[in-house]
């Protein structure tokens, strides 16, 4: 088994790590770096709870290998807020009550950040298509879609926080 040295930036912080090839990204983020907002649920890339961004692209941390993040920027739910100052997507989820148990929420929010970076003003249908791979077993999706559309408007009219996502 070969160990792979890698430098990776996680939520803006540079790390020099050595990982075995079979280490998954979720193991690296949770067990090495303590980022417990990355949730493992289905473990087969279907549910989206473990969604994180690698160079702004959404991936399933449960199945992507950690070494694939070498030289890249990884962003997790922990990297969105500035202290108590929430990211506009987080604010919209709170204001619209777009969560119940909250387990799917970090993945929902990271997928939303990726969607809005790519398509700042999606239609409701575009939101549903993009978010099809993020599963919530509590609330249904109505409030989630509403929150995403509200976040899109909020980002378009100027974010309240210093970080526009």
């Amino acid at each position: 088994m070969n160990a792979i040295p890698m430098s990776v930036t996680v939520n803006g912080e540079a790390h020099a790590l050595t990982v075995p090839p079979h280490e998954t990204l979720i193991e690296c983020l949770r067990d090495r770096l303590g980022l417990l907002g990355v949730k493992k649920s289905c473990d087969v890339q279907v549910c989206g709870a473990c969604t994180v961004l690698v160079d702004d692209r959404p991936v399933s941390a449960c199945t992507v290998l950690a070494f694939e993040a070498r030289g890249k920027h990884v962003r997790t739910i922990e990297g969105l807020a500035h202290g108590d100052d929430l990211h506009p997507v987080q604010e919209a989820f709170v204001e619209h009550g777009a969560l119940q148990c909250g387990f799917c929420t970090p993945g929902m929010i990271m997928a939303t950040v990726a969607l809005l970076a790519e398509n700042p003003s999606p239609t409701a249908d575009e939101v549903k298509h993009y978010m099809r791979g993020n599963i919530c077993r509590c609330t249904g999706y109505k409030r989630i879609v509403e929150a995403i559309l509200a976040a899109s408007e909020r980002l378009a009219t100027g974010p309240r926080t210093t970080d526009g996502g």
Binding site: I4, T24, Q45, R57
Partner: protein
């Protein structure tokens, strides 16, 4: 949990081929990993060596040839094909099919070549690409061959690739003028239960060429030539009855398997329904493009 393995990162196709030759059954090509790593995590398969082909220069990317063919590097992620302007303009059916593969995270990471080589029967690209008469380039150290895509698939999870061969490129020729392709699928799980690809070429009110491929239903995606023959040379206005018969023939020929995705009978029914809808949508697409 994944069992430990060694990662090999070749700098060329020849080097990758040599690694496959050296390690034999203990090695497997690794591209996006969206299928392979899942199966390895489940403990269904194990390899001591994964050969990462994403480090091989030139294996990813999309370009249009002078003759209008689309040349897709095997390590090109689905998401690139979904969003590439040359694909959506010249091969809209492929862009649309790609936009509905699994979910966005799988499409960001998973590659077209990996999808084809894994030969999971419940997949979309293998069926649609066959109605374009797509070919695949297989390379090994010191040699290369190009074969029709339909010959790549041997059985579930089985291709005709030799032990030291790699799929390097998928070539999709353009359809003739007055043609359109459509892919329709149905499923209630992440993977499709049934997928039907159709390409139609019209001339003088007749079906000059009809191509049909069915995927996910049987062990491999395949062309349905007997069903195609029922539609060939028919007047468009008179295609309805032939379409029903083509649907029945394709359903019988699809080798439908009862599994988690539905009973064989159910899938056979869906083949007929999707074939009719796809054919009609393709006719409408040709008419639409001529009105523009």
């Amino acid at each position: 949990m994944l069992r430990p393995f060694e990662l090999c990162e070749p700098a060329s196709v020849a080097e990758a081929s040599e690694l496959l030759l050296r390690h034999g059954e203990a090695a497997r090509i690794y591209a996006g990993g969206t299928e392979l790593i899942l199966a390895m995590k489940e403990g269904l398969i194990h390899y001591d060596y994964l050969v990462n082909v994403k480090t091989v220069p030139g294996l990813a990317g999309v370009r249009l040839d002078a003759d209008g063919s689309l040349r897709i590097g095997a390590a090109t992620p689905h998401r690139v094909l979904e969003r590439d302007p040359s694909v959506s303009e010249r091969f809209p059916a492929i862009a649309r099919m790609e936009a509905d593969v699994a979910n966005v995270r799988v499409r960001e990471v998973g590659t077209l070549g990996g999808n084809l080589c894994f030969a999971e029967p419940h997949a979309d690209p293998g069926a649609l690409l066959q109605v374009f008469d797509a070919t695949v380039r297989l390379e090994r150290k010191g040699g290369a061959r190009t074969i029709p895509l339909e010959r790549l698939f041997v059985g579930p999870f089985e291709t005709c690739l030799e032990g030291d061969e790699l799929l390097t490129e998928i070539v999709v020729p353009p359809l003739a003028p007055r043609s359109a392709a459509v892919y329709l699928k149905f499923g209630f799980l992440e993977r499709p239960s049934v997928g039907v690809g159709v390409a139609v070429t019209l001339a003088d009110g007749h079906v000059a060429d009809a191509r049909i491929a069915v995927g996910s239903v049987g062990p491999v995606p395949r062309r349905m030539r007997d069903a195609e023959a029922r539609l060939q040379d028919r007047p468009v206005a008179d295609s309805e009855a032939a379409l029903a018969e083509a649907g029945r023939i394709a359903a019988r020929a699809s080798d439908a398997i009862t599994d988690l995705h539905g009973s064989a009978e159910y899938k056979e029914h869906l083949v007929g329904v999707l074939l009719r809808r796809a054919f009609q949508a393709a006719l409408a697409a040709v008419a639409g493009s001529e009105r523009r």
